[in-house]
Amino acid sequence: MIHCYKLGGLNIVLDVYSGSVHLVDEVAYDIISMYETETLEQITEKILAKYGALPDVTAEEIKACFEEIGELKQAGKLFKEDTFKPMAGDLKQKSAGIVKALCLHVAHTCNLNCSYCFASQGKYHGDRAIMSLEVGKRALDFLIENSGSRRNLEVDFFGGEPLMNFDMIKELVAYARKREKEANKNFRFTLTTNGILVDDEVIDFANREMSNVVLSLDGRKEVHDRFRVDYNGVGSWERIVPKFQRFVEKRGNKNYYMRGTFTHANPDFVKDIEEMLSLGFTELSMEPVVCAPDDPSALTEQDLPIVLEQYEKLAFLMLDCIKQGKPFTFYHYMLDLKSGPCIYKRISGCGSGTEYMAVTPWGDLYPCHQFVGEERFRLGNVWTGVENTAVQDEFAACNVYTRPECENCWAKLYCSGGCAANAYHATGSVNGIYSYGCELFRKRMECAIMLEAAKTVGK
């Protein structure tokens, strides 16, 4: 399968199953699009009719190009057949029984009251709660016990607002540092915060212990303060921005992301990216809101073309910034064509419900943070492990080849079939697809590949 598209003045041909990317001129672009269905004679006739006025487009040239395409096909770099499908189940089985990442819900409560929050202000449709140190320690022990030979173990301090349980986080990290030496593991922690409780102690601790911090900022003040308000309805932008600037300044070269959400109220989110840049932030992520379709903040069909155009605009902004010597990172455009993920990762996806689970303040296990509160999906708990094997099996069997809608999608090895939670909320099945999200994802991948191609050719 190939995907041919034009963006940023480049003609791009992606060969899906080899992962090869080709930059081609107009003539080759047209020949490739006809190669599998027409003869050389038919192609020559059509190409000469379209480009014959150009001095370098002759029958000999067309034949040479046709032969070059044949050589690429022979080398497995064009029209590569799908050899992965038969092994998809086996590849995913490589991780069977292994847990390597936990999302720790250390606080099911929040000091902000954002109406668009998928976690319903941190409560996940349940009671407010704080995770005890005992539950936290048991969760880490559960992770170590079930991690097999995996050395790198990931733990995300999540909420609600995790800093509302900061004392426990500090004690738990100290416990983890002791346990990782005993067990020959390497804990990588992430903290996701709304910034309200960030102070110098938090900054110093996080910059020492957290591999990554995710700082929630929606961009422009009026955009951010539309949703991200406290319980008095007062916007949080002015309180958090100086704290985040200090946080990032003191973080040096350690990973962080400014993570925004865009909604129906700001489909023109590139302006929010520009605001983040003007505030001095360079590691950026901007996510489409996840909410019920009847929620006023939900993205609509009318928003879709605007959002798609914004993704292209963002890609061009990135190229401009590179030329100006002020590059920045956009999470969804990070793409390493040379040493990115292997086919196993591309088929199996995020590992929700198998390699990756969420832990509630009470120690219950769920397939991921987005399923917390959905009783049907409760897997078990950190003391007795996974008991609901039927649900775990459902997730374990889930891969890019189990979703019929993905079969003819060129982007399937970049999204692994998409997010199970998004699919469930859109279709009622974790094996469904969230087609609106697919549209956005495909555009993001087109932009990401174009950016890598443009950087390669110095455009």
Partner: protein, 48 residues
């Protein structure tokens, strides 16, 4: 004339042979939390 430029990319078929070490980051542990994109994850296979 050269009409096709092939970029240097990872060979996915080759990666089936020694891939799957599982040491790379879980995609949702980074910045998104509400979507699945694995293409931006860095390979950490020591034997690659």
């Amino acid at each position: 004339m050269k009409r096709i430029q092939t970029l240097d990319t990872k060979n996915l078929c080759e990666s089936a042979k020694n891939g799957g070490c599982g040491e790379c980051q879980t995609s949702c542990q980074s910045a998104c939390k509400t979507s699945c994109g694995i293409a931006n994850q860095e390979c950490e296979n020591a034997d690659k």
